[in-house]
């Protein structure tokens, strides 16, 4: 006992911390985009691909879903250099997060593909839609509406996951909190502020994603 919280000592660093939050958002965005692309390819293979390719993709998804992201990045960051693949810490984190998110998003998007009913396609064919028109007017709007909530949820999760980058010395939000902690020794103060930053960050992201979903896809339900 006898410890008094002194938030005054860390307030000069709030702007520095906000810069870290910006970097965290960028890492999350890049990892999300790459992961989304990986997920899209994997989901297509899982749904339409030949059998051996399906097995490979299933193995990738199952492996990445059942092992911790931190250890995956450890492996990428520490083990790959032994085999001549040298990558920096930010790149390693982004690569790990993308591969991990890719596995999750493969599962999500596979479910999206599965949600298209045969009758819908048949109805479009009856109306004389070409294959492209079917994709443009029937499949995409349907898939987008089904996939938007879980994918935006994934983005929020990725934003929080970026904190793992601090372990590899990336100076994002948590990394900068470590730095400030090392300078001021006001540990509880700075980490509780970092926690608040994450809450604010994800609340804003949720609100924006909700508004976009509402506007673009008329999704009324709760997003995250």
């Amino acid at each position: 006992m006898g410890y008094t919280l002194q938030y005054g000592q860390v307030t000069p660093y709030l702007g520095y911390l906000a810069g870290g939050a910006w970097l965290a958002l960028q890492i999350a965005a890049v990892a999300f985009l790459i992961g989304w692309a990986i997920g899209l390819v994997c989901a297509s293979v899982l749904h339409y691909g030949p059998r051996p390719a399906r097995w490979l993709v299933r193995a990738y998804v199952t492996f990445f879903l059942n092992t911790p992201l931190l250890v995956q990045i450890f492996f990428i960051y520490f083990a790959l250099p032994d085999y001549g693949i040298l990558i920096g810490s930010v790149e390693a984190v982004i690569l790990g997060m993308s591969l991990n998110a890719g596995a999750y998003m493969a599962e999500i998007q596979r479910a999206g593909f599965a949600s298209i009913r045969r009758a819908e396609i048949e109805a479009a064919e009856t109306l004389g839609f070409s294959r492209l028109q079917q994709i443009r007017y029937v499949i995409l709007p349907h898939i987008a509406k089904v996939l938007y909530p879980p994918l935006s949820n994934q983005y929020i999760i990725l934003t929080m996951t970026t904190s793992v980058a601090a372990i590899f010395g990336v100076e994002e939000l948590t990394g900068r909190a470590y730095n400030i902690n090392a300078q001021t020794f006001r540990s509880l103060e700075i980490f509780s502020i970092a926690a608040v930053y994450y809450v604010v960050l994800t609340v804003i992201a949720s609100a924006v994603l909700y508004a976009i979903g509402r506007f673009l896809f008329r999704i009324k339900g709760k997003v995250f």
Binding site: Y3, F75, T162, A195
Partner: protein, 228 residues
């Protein structure tokens, strides 16, 4: 690759295997204790959020706030807050307690959502019927709603538990002797990182995959019959 194979017998020596087995047990124990406590707390939170049980609105709002806040704090940051929180409060507790508390705090928020979803999946009429029979909120929950809701609650909670098993790897940051930390130690002893981290990836996979299979099995097994 050949160098890796040469290293294998040295890596899987008697003491290293025991060391890894202990770390595996530590990870499993930490997850079990953390998730167990977290689920109980989360269950309480979810019940407190039910208007029929808790009539006093501020408590409901507090429970909601807890859930919304703690779901949005990354595990690593929460770990640091708990770690320094214990330290500055002058409580000299073992690292296991720090890690388990963090898992529990985080698990409570997530399982509260799962439990709430389960409770809300039970039709409102069931609550009304119970009220007509002059049951109080808690009694209705225990005798009417829970017997129907638990089937919906358990499978997603298991899936979240797997997520928390994976999150415990971050607890290596405060130096609890779980799997990731064990791999780091072995790596620092000079074994190649591919072997150290590869081995624990497999161990994590065994743990999480079997839990996930079990959750999937439960989901089929417990699926409530739709016929009424």
């Amino acid at each position: 690759m050949a160098a890796l194979l040469d290293e294998l017998p040295r890596f899987f020596s008697y003491y290293n295997v025991i060391f890894l087995a202990q770390a595996f047990a530590y990870t499993a124990g930490l997850s079990l204790v953390g998730c167990g406590l977290g689920f109980v707390a989360g269950f309480g939170l979810a019940v407190l959020r039910q208007e029929r049980v808790m009539r006093f609105a501020p408590v409901r709002i507090l429970a909601l706030l807890y859930v919304e806040l703690f779901r949005r704090i990354p595990f690593l940051v929460l770990l640091m807050v708990v770690f320094f929180g214990f330290q500055l409060a002058g409580a000299d507790v073992p690292m296991f307690v720090v890690a388990a508390t963090t898992v529990a705090l985080s698990a409570a928020a997530f399982s509260a959502e799962n439990v709430r979803a389960g409770l809300e999946a039970v039709h409102r009429n069931q609550w009304d019927a119970a009220e007509t029979l002059n049951m109080g909120g808690l009694r209705a929950l225990r005798l009417v709603v829970l017997p129907q809701a638990w089937r919906i609650i358990i499978p997603p909670s298991m899936t979240y538990a797997v997520g928390l098993v994976k999150a415990t790897s971050i607890a290596s940051q405060i130096g609890v002797a779980e799997l990731t930390f064990a791999a780091k130690i072995l790596n620092q002893k000079g074994f190649s990182p591919a072997l150290c981290f590869g081995t624990i990836l497999v161990l994590y996979f065994v743990l999480c995959w079997s839990l996930n299979r079990f959750a999937a099995h439960l989901e089929v097994r417990l699926a409530p019959s739709r016929s009424r």
